[in-house]
């Protein structure tokens, strides 16, 4: 089919234009450069603002906490009494409870979250099912903490109570099961916390796993790896920074979770390793006492808040150090 000459030239002309990229591959105009500078500046400002924001928060809270910090000093961290009338305050049980519940949630949530992520990205399911599952799991992030608390009280605790009683009777000599479950306690709290961080860990891990170039997987298969060898030795390490980020976000969420834990952890100043004993966390302590706190109590609660921020900081520090060590090792092996 012969086109008229002019049209043919026009057609070829545009193709030539596209081929040589005459309209796109020109050096940037001065407007482009200006826009570039503005954009760079903008991103710099916002990155800086992040630091400013956190500093502002720390200062604001620290400022309020200062009188209490002066008055109670480090004894606050080691004492276990919380007596408003006698003005004796100590948050060691709360620090313990926060760390214990969050670590449990991280371990369980990490295991299940990453399993779900692997299950949803490594071709175990048809794609349509994967999308549906993905949406359902992300939906769980939207459920208000209050609802999780109610579910915990009305469904979870009655379900695990018989199991807990049986375990306590037969294995009570193991420190983890040394008390009986009266209702709210560390285990229900940790389980609900796990479910709350699961969507976060799962969704972000899933993204990290999907972003691994298919070539890597194919190369592994080409070398004769089984499916799981490919996953464990090639895909997971490649996605490790993303997965680690997911775990850190999940852990952060667990540390700061307030409402659901306030309803399920038992709010008791018990310092116990038993999973069935009631406990308390810093966030729950804050949430439950702040509304009614007078000036003096407010300062003490802010001190507890400072401690919580310090714990988050410390955990992040350790996490980043661990990650740095791991990536150095990985890239070192590669070289």
């Amino acid at each position: 089919m012969a086109l008229p000459a002019t049209e043919r030239e026009a057609a070829f002309g545009s193709v030539r234009e596209m081929a040589t990229g005459a309209s796109i591959s020109t050096p940037p105009s001065s407007l482009d450069i200006f826009a570039d500078r503005v954009f760079r500046g903008l991103t710099l400002i916002f990155a800086g603002l992040t630091i400013v924001l956190v500093l502002y928060i720390v200062l604001e809270i620290g400022g309020k906490a200062a009188p209490a910090m002066q008055k109670y000093g480090l004894g606050f961290i080691t004492s276990t009494t919380w007596d408003v009338n006698k003005a004796r305050f100590g948050v060691l049980p709360e620090i313990w409870g926060t760390l214990y519940s969050s670590v449990l949630a991280l371990v369980l949530g990490g295991f299940f979250g990453i399993s779900i992520a692997i299950f949803l990205t490594q071709d175990f399911l048809p794609p349509k099912l994967e999308v549906i599952f993905k949406n359902i799991v992300e939906l769980l992030a939207a459920i208000p903490s209050v609802v999780y608390g109610l579910w915990g009280i009305f469904v979870l605790i009655p379900t695990i109570r018989p199991v807990a009683d049986w375990v306590h009777q037969h294995f009570g000599w193991i420190p983890f099961f040394s008390t009986s479950l009266s209702g709210p306690g560390m285990l229900p709290a940790a389980l609900v916390l796990t479910i709350m961080v699961l969507p976060t860990i799962s969704a972000i891990s899933r993204d990290a796993l999907s972003a691994v170039p298919p070539r890597l997987k194919e190369a592994a298969f080409g070398m004769g790896a089984t499916r799981w060898e490919a996953i464990l030795r090639v895909i997971l390490p490649t996605a490790s920074t993303g997965i680690f980020g997911a775990l850190m976000l999940g852990f952060g969420r667990a540390l700061g979770e307030t409402m659901a834990l306030a309803m399920l952890v038992g709010n008791s100043n018990q310092l116990s390793i038993s999973l069935f004993s009631p406990a308390n966390t810093l966030a729950a302590l804050l949430a439950l006492n702040f509304p009614e706190a007078d000036k003096r109590q407010e300062q003490v609660l802010m001190y507890a808040a400072v401690l919580l921020l310090a714990i988050t900081l410390l955990v992040n520090f350790c996490g980043t150090a661990v990650l740095r060590r791991a990536t150095v090792r990985l890239s070192g092996e590669g070289k």
């Binding site: 009494t81 919380w82 007596d83 408003v84 009338n85 006698k86 004796r88 009280i153 009305f154 605790i157 009655p158 008390t179 009266s182 209702g183 709210p184 306690g185 306030a262 309803m263 038992g266 709010n267 008791s268 100043n269 018990q270 116990s272 038993s274 004993s277 009631p278 729950a284 949430a287 439950l288 006492n289 702040f290 509304p291 009614e292 706190a293 007078d294 109590q297």
Partner: protein, 345 residues
């Protein structure tokens, strides 16, 4: 990837909102904001809505944040009025410029709800029994101290789980005040307060808010805890008959609550506590709850609205309160409060 259509819509909405707020102020309607105690929250909600039907242009927003938070807001002037189960202390009142008018609006009783499927239908608890339970000294339901007052019943051997409030609350304040009034050991031990240092035991668990405690009691066999009467009544939780000052075992009810309030005269600043009422039929654990107003408002319309709403609350409002589990104010109290209303200008 620029701003999508959904985002544009939000932007537009926000801009319109900001624009119209800067352009126009409220038309004719008077808006009042309040925050504070959660105990009277359902009742106040009903009152404000009803009075809104009568006075068309009145919009009152009240949120339960806790008595302490309400007082804080009131002092910070972020709300027009507050509600508190613990009235106000002298220093709090001094911190408010222009003066404070406290008005008791209703009252309630605190009951000991329990969960004992194999226990007696009407559990009687003597003073010694319930004090020792909450001190953690009595730990089993078949303890002789409890069995003494319930000779006809077979008490099961279950352990006692004490459910207390996890959050600071006026309910705890009133309950511990009562315990402090009847027991030296309690006064020198945990003492009185919105939060106290409860005995250290893994059989003492805590739940937030009245409904949390009620739910925990319901779910835990062998549990006992203190909650507002309305919650136990409407949640159909068994309530213990408590021994009062006169030695009688009284069942919590409207009548026994009113009998407790009847014996108390209100002082001029309208702050009265009833830690241990002396009437024969009096239920021993009762409390007023107050609304806190400024003596002087910048907007006379606000003051007028407040007076109208309080008048409604003191007359028609009291009729509803009984149904909801609150104790209607005795007549002489209503008179005193109506007179004090004139102080709000």
């Amino acid at each position: 990837m620029k701003v999508g259509p959904v985002r544009c819509l939000w932007l537009l909405l926000i801009l319109c909102g900001l624009l119209s707020t800067s352009l126009g102020w409220a038309g004719e309607s008077v808006r009042l904001k309040g925050s504070g105690a959660s105990f009277p929250f359902p009742l106040y909600g009903l009152w404000f809505k009803e009075s809104g039907k009568v006075n068309r242009n009145v919009i009152i927003a009240y949120q339960a944040t806790g008595s302490g938070a309400g007082i804080k807001d009131f002092v910070n002037k972020t709300v027009d009025f507050a509600a508190s189960d613990a009235a106000m202390t002298d220093e709090e009142m001094a911190a408010v410029e222009g003066g404070v008018q406290l008005l008791p609006m209703t009252a309630g009783s605190i009951v000991l709800a329990y969960n004992l499927p194999d226990g007696p239908k009407e559990l009687k608890l003597s003073r010694e029994a319930y004090t020792k339970i909450f001190l953690g000294q009595v730990t089993k339901w078949n303890d002789p101290v409890i069995a003494q007052a319930n000779p006809d019943a077979k008490m099961p051997e279950t352990g006692i789980t004490v459910v207390r409030r996890a959050d600071s609350s006026g309910t705890t304040f009133v309950f511990t005040q009562h315990l402090g009034a009847i027991s030296e050991a309690w006064k020198n031990g945990p003492g009185t307060g919105t939060t106290v240092n409860w005995p250290s035991s893994d059989k003492f668990i805590a739940s937030p808010k009245n409904d949390g405690v009620a739910a925990t009691i319901k779910q835990t066999p062998g549990a006992i805890g203190y909650i507002e009467y309305g919650f136990a009544e409407l949640g159909k939780l068994p309530m213990a008959l408590v021994e009062n000052k006169a030695g009688k075992f009284v069942k919590p009810s409207l009548e026994s609550g009113q009998a407790a309030l009847a014996g108390v005269d209100l002082p001029p600043d309208l702050r009265a506590w009833v830690p241990d009422p002396s009437g024969e039929e009096a239920y021993p654990i009762v409390t007023y709850t107050w609304m806190v107003f400024h003596k002087k408002y910048d907007d006379p319309k606000k003051a007028e609205t407040i007076r109208n709403v309080v008048k409604y609350a003191l007359t028609d409002g009291q009729r509803v309160s009984g149904k909801m589990g609150y104790i209607p104010l005795p007549d002489k109290v209503v008179q005193v409060v109506s007179r004090a209303l004139d102080n709000i200008q």
